[in-house]
Structure formats: structure tokens, C-alpha cells
Amino acid sequence: MEKKNFIDCERKQFTKLLKFRLPNTFMYVGITIAALSIVSMFVNAFVLEGDNHWLKLLSQKTLLIGMLIMSISKDKIEDEMTIQLRSQSYMIAFIVGVIYAMFMPYVEFGVSNMVHNGGENYKDLGDFQVLLFMLMIQLMFYHNLKRYR
């Protein structure tokens, strides 16, 4: 009996976790955070002088946080179809993200060496690049799937 209760409790927690979404108003919070992060990236690149590595890292983190908030915010009308479309967009983003992480370093390496002799050395993608790409693909596909539903 105790074991059954324990399993039920775990199942409930798991279901709660799976159904977790932020309210729709958080979408605007996410957009604002992401937009401010992009602005600070531009300011860092073109306005500020000197090496502001900390600002670059901070902007990258806040951009990812903003996009994640956008990604897990509910729609104005959240129904079973939007839940299904969101699941599909996460699946596509995961698959495309894995392919991107595997092949993009070789593409970058190849292109760099084709354009100028003795170009860049081979290097793996950073976590920011992969996560940003996956979040972008998820948001883009979700938007498109909703448009064509």
C-alpha cells in the first residue's frame, strides 16, 4: 500500500512538472529581456570601448533566459492542439539542434579554410551557440506550426 502511494505521489509530481507553463504575461517579460540583451550586445560591440567580457557573458545568459521564458509561456488560449504543436516544435528543435552541433563545426572549418588559406582551426560549438540555435528553432517552428494549423 505504501509503495503504491509513493508511486502515485511520484506520478503526480512528474505530471505536474510536465504540465508546467508560465502564464501568458511572461511572454512579454521574455521578449523584453531578450530585446534588452540584444541591445546590450550591440552596445558592447559598437559603443563601449575596451574588453567587456563580463557584459558579453551576461548578455548571452540573459538572452537565453529571455528566450526560455518565451518558450515556456502559455498562449492566450492554451488548448490540446497548442500543447501538441509545442511538443512537435520541441522535438524538431532537439533533432535539428543535435544535427547542427554535430555538423556545424565541420562546415565552419571547411568554409573558413576555403575562403582564406590556413583559416581557423577546428573548434566545437559553445553551449551558447547550440542553446540559442535550439531555442530559435523551437520558437520559429512553434510560430509557424500555429500559423499553418
Binding site: D75, I77, D79, E80, M81, T82, K146, R149
Partner: protein, 66 residues
């Protein structure tokens, strides 16, 4: 799966938006079901059945592909 949702809705003189509000989904979801692009869950099918006051089998039919 094919359905006669549009017909049932017209019989009740409901717009897609009104039907969507009655069963708590978006208008686009009703549109997708009517166009056979989306197969609703059992819960949604039963909600539609309640609105139309008919068994689910009356407006959802299996096709050869199913």
C-alpha cells in the same frame, strides 16, 4: 478520420468562435478539426458530443486509412 462537425455546427447556428468558447478551445482548433487536419482527443470529442447532443460516432467516422 473524417467528420461532419461543420454541418452539426451550422445546424445549431453556431460560429466557429462560439463553438470554440463553448468547449474551451481556440477558433483555430475548431477550424483545423473541421478541415480534418487535427484529430481531437477523447475529452474534446465528448465535449462536442455534449454540445451537439449526439453520440460521437454520429459526427466522427473512421476512414479506410485509419
Amino acid at each position: 478520420m473524417e467528420n461532419t462537425l461543420k454541418l452539426e455546427r451550422v445546424i445549431l447556428n453556431l460560429t466557429q468562435d462560439e463553438l470554440a468558447q463553448k468547449i474551451g478551445v481556440s477558433r483555430q482548433t475548431i477550424n483545423s478539426i473541421e478541415a480534418n487536419r487535427y484529430v481531437p482527443s477523447t475529452v474534446l470529442a465528448l465535449k462536442l458530443s455534449e454540445v451537439f447532443d449526439k453520440p460521437v460516432n454520429d459526427f466522427f467516422k473512421l476512414t479506410k486509412d485509419d
